[in-house]
């Protein structure tokens, strides 16, 4: 097949008109949920329920129910936290970074990706809250007024995490909401239900599509994107600092910040592809979320997967080069020690399987895509597991070595986090527009004037 490079690929296919776009996106919110919806919701709801039970029991009996112990004091909770924060990053990247790079193809998927970011960060936020075992005392972690001059330790990466993740959640939410305002206005103006009109009026803040507002709006959007980009890089960087500022072998290595960021984008895009393949089929959005979009995302997955592979190689080489025995041991131990099974799952899922995306046919095949991206998510979860657990279970003092086993409650809470994520996604599809109506209209065929009003900037 022959690609014509002189033709720009349209951002959306099917030559949809503005009202057709609106209909396609608004229909799910105006129709009653069907059987498939309830089946999906009950599956994710069950997972959520299992997690809730595991959590309730953990609060009742204490965190002794989990597998955390010396020497592996950090285990599932932090692995899950890093996993979910990483998944959130794809959303901001698609929204903000692709916006700054002027990639029009992001418009069909940006809204969904942003929503996924917020849900993923919410899932991530569960873990710092519950990991003390007594979350109702969490207020004491904040700098509350006290008489012993007690302040938080601002030099601790755990505090940096608090600031980073809450800023990330806030800014992502603000970014998402700002994008929703024009869509709420559109929904307000087309709905016939007076209750829905009332709700949409409140959330749209009275937006009336005025170009005097669009001017500032576009500027704000660009500013938000400009801030969200370094923010998303900083969040996973700060998460990597949790490990890298220590002196643990296998953790203290300078490449962790960009390595973690690349890994986050890698797993995030994989989750986005996982969800979008399903969503576009169910809601008939194949012309808005096209095969070209999926292929581009798969290319990003390939690229970031290779960055992760590069980091593995560098860590390994420099561990040898440094001559530090503890560091050299860590990498041998990962490959052939007691957790070798986890290590090789990680390497095959993150480095080997994504190589299938070198081939155009495979990049554009739905079944291949789905298998690869699910494996990528598995691999990335195992990467965090390998990093955390192997270094802790065998560090400097052999007499302290021990094998960590997660308990059923650990697994239950992890399952519950997936349940929460997918429940929120499923509810989202029926309550809010999954595609940004105004943005997609703006890149439809014939949406922009043929002659630019005025000359280009000279």
């Amino acid at each position: 097949m022959h690609i014509d490079y002189s033709k720009e690929v349209p951002a959306i296919a099917g030559r949809l008109s503005l009202s057709e776009i609106e209909e396609l996106v608004a229909i799910p919110m105006e129709t009653k949920p069907d059987k498939k919806f309830y089946i999906a919701l009950s599956i994710s709801g069950t997972a959520l329920l299992i997690g809730a039970i595991a959590l309730a029991l953990s609060f009742y009996y204490g965190t002794g129910l989990w597998g955390n112990n010396q020497p592996v004091a950090w285990a599932f909770p932090i692995v899950n936290f890093v996993f979910w924060v990483g998944i959130g990053h794809a959303g901001t990247l698609i929204s903000a970074i692709l916006f700054l790079l002027r990639q029009k193809w992001r418009t069909g998927i940006a809204r969904f990706a942003e929503a996924m970011t917020i849900f993923a960060v919410m899932c991530a936020g569960i873990f710092p809250v519950i990991h003390t075992g007594r979350p109702w005392l969490a207020g004491y972690l904040l700098p509350y007024p006290n008489q012993h001059a007690l302040w938080v330790n601002f030099t601790s990466p755990l505090i940096w995490d608090v600031f980073a993740v809450s800023t990330y959640l806030t800014v992502s939410f603000v970014f998402w909401y700002v994008g929703l305002i024009p869509d709420f206005a559109t929904l307000r103006d087309r709905t016939t239900s007076s209750l829905k009109k009332y709700i949409y009026s409140i959330f749209s803040l009275g937006w009336r599509h005025s170009n005097r507002h669009w001017q500032h709006y576009e500027k704000a959007y660009m500013l938000l994107a400009g801030f969200a980009t370094p923010l998303v890089l900083s969040v996973h960087t700060i998460v990597s600092f949790d490990f890298a500022v220590s002196i643990m072998p296998g953790w203290h290595t300078t490449i962790f910040p960009p390595y973690f960021v690349a890994g986050a984008i890698f797993s995030g895009f994989a989750m986005v592809v996982t969800v979008l393949v399903v969503v576009r089929k169910i809601f008939d959005l194949q012309n808005i979320i096209t095969m070209d979009h999926l292929e581009k995302m798969n290319k990003v997955i390939l690229a970031t997967g290779m960055m992760v592979g590069y980091a593995y190689a560098m860590e390994f080489f420099i561990a040898w080069y440094s001559g530090v025995q503890a560091e050299q041991f860590v990498f041998i131990n990962r490959a052939i020690g007691p957790y070798a099974w986890a290590y090789w799952i990680m390497v095959s899922c993150n480095v080997i399987f994504p190589q299938l995306f070198w081939f155009r046919k495979l990049r554009r095949s739905i079944p291949v895509m789905m298998v690869v991206v699910i494996l990528v998510n598995v691999g990335m979860w195992f990467e965090r597991f390998v990093i955390t657990v192997t270094s802790l279970s065998r560090d400097y003092l052999p007499s302290s070595w021990a094998y960590y086993t997660p308990t059923l409650y650990d697994a239950g809470i992890l399952l519950g986090s997936f349940g929460l994520f997918f429940t929120l996604v499923i509810l989202f599809t029926k309550s809010l527009p999954v595609v940004s109506i105004s943005e997609v209209k703006a890149v439809a065929d014939g949406a922009q004037p043929a002659h630019r009003g005025g000359q280009s900037h000279e």
Binding site: W151, T155, V174, V178, R190, N211, W214, G446, A450, G453
Partner: protein, 388 residues
């Protein structure tokens, strides 16, 4: 009901982006200032066509971003370097590299949130669901797939017929006159809203009170308040005497403490031997300590002639035969253990210092009862007759 005399403005709708661009340009060229264009999404080149000045939103971002950075740094400086400085990880109190991440996050947070909040509140004056354009046919079509221009009556040049003429000349799909809605009472004083505020206050304050003052003391949240561990004054079922607080085991010695075997013995048959040679430093130390602890009672030169002479506790002289015949160890014992009404000074004077005092007392005693050879030596050394 429309107020016939209160026109907000006149609108015109178009079906393509090219038309709205040229329409906007023509309206701007005609000199109108209070007009607006409504499009379902931003149309490229519209800002130029409407002759809009560039947005100044960036300044808001810059100001709040810099303020956020300053705020974060100042707060961290004050808490970590002034209010309660602690050495953490061997780093300086103002550990700038460690403060960067938080500074960055606060900068971004403040910049983005304030940009959006001020944009909505100040630049847009939103929320505003009572604007005249709401619920008009114009707005409904614009929201979907039309583009419109509205010329407001507040414009200086506004004249109903002239405006209608201009708009018609642009070939719109339709035009519409929009009126102001009937003025309403400020919703803030409506009983429904007031009731809502009141209930919110009740719920929030009652909820907070319950949460913090009551719930934390209810099961299971109070479980950690009742703990099995022993606290001072608690009885214990483990020990037969039911005392929770235990004395140290017989013969325990506090750290850094060497036991004195003759403590509490009044006339010890054995005493310790003086391990210190009376060097110059040792005697100076002894002199210092003697003057501090001993001279208030026994006088500066051991004559017992302090202010307390003749009064309680009437301290004796150290130059008596008995005093001179005491061994070093005996004097040491008296300082440590006390004698009669004199208390023991073991908790105030360290062992080495006590020996130094002993040496000094020996010097005082020798000086008071100097032999001829001593005087000769003194004369030779001082070059006088021994009086200085």
């Amino acid at each position: 009901m429309n107020n016939e005399k209160n026109i907000y403005g006149i609108t015109a709708l178009f079906k393509s982006p090219d038309e709205i661009i040229s329409a906007a340009g023509k309206v701007a060229d005609a000199g109108y200032k209070n007009f607006d264009v409504n499009t379902p999404y931003p149309v490229h080149g519209m800002d130029k066509a409407m002759k809009l000045k560039p947005s100044r939103l960036g300044f808001v971002t810059l100001v709040f971003g810099l303020s956020g950075a300053a705020l974060a740094l100042i707060f961290m400086y004050w808490t970590m370097s002034v209010d309660y400085p602690m050495v953490i990880g061997g780093k300086p109190f103002f550990a700038l590299p460690a403060f960067i991440p938080v500074t960055f996050e606060v900068t971004v947070l403040l910049a983005t949130v304030m940009t959006v909040v001020l944009m909505l509140a100040l630049f847009f004056r939103l929320p505003d669901n009572k604007h005249p354009l709401h619920d008009t046919n114009y707005m409904k079509l614009v929201s979907k797939d039309h583009y419109g221009v509205v010329i407001e009556s507040s414009d200086v040049q506004f004249d109903e017929s002239k405006v209608k003429e201009l708009l018609k000349s642009l070939n719109p799909v339709n035009t519409e006159v929009v009126y102001y809605p009937i003025a309403e009472k400020y919703p803030i004083f409506q009983p429904k809203f007031l009731m809502f505020l009141f209930i919110t206050v009740l719920v929030v304050s009652g909820g907070t009170y319950f949460l913090l003052n009551k719930l934390m003391y209810m099961t299971p949240f109070d479980w950690m308040m009742e703990q099995d561990k022993l606290t001072p004054q608690k009885t214990s079922e483990l020990f037969s005497d039911r005392f929770g607080m235990r004395k140290p085991v017989e013969g325990s010695v506090a750290r850094g403490f060497i036991p004195y075997p003759f403590m509490g013995v009044d006339n010890p048959k054995e005493v310790l031997m003086n391990p210190f040679i009376p060097t110059k430093e040792n005697i100076e130390l002894g002199s210092k300590k003697y003057l501090t602890f001993c001279s208030p009672c026994h006088g500066d030169y051991g004559d017992g002639d302090s202010r307390l002479k003749g009064q309680f506790p009437n301290p004796p002289t150290l130059h008596s035969t008995r005093g001179r015949e005491f061994s070093d160890g005996m004097i040491y014992h008296i300082i440590t253990n006390g004698q009669n009404i004199m208390p023991g000074y073991s908790s105030q004077i360290s062992r080495d210092e006590r020996w130094a005092i002993v040496n000094y007392i020996r010097v005082l005693q020798r000086a008071k009862n100097a032999s001829d050879s001593d005087l000769e030596l003194a004369k030779k050394e001082t070059g006088g007759n021994g009086t200085n």
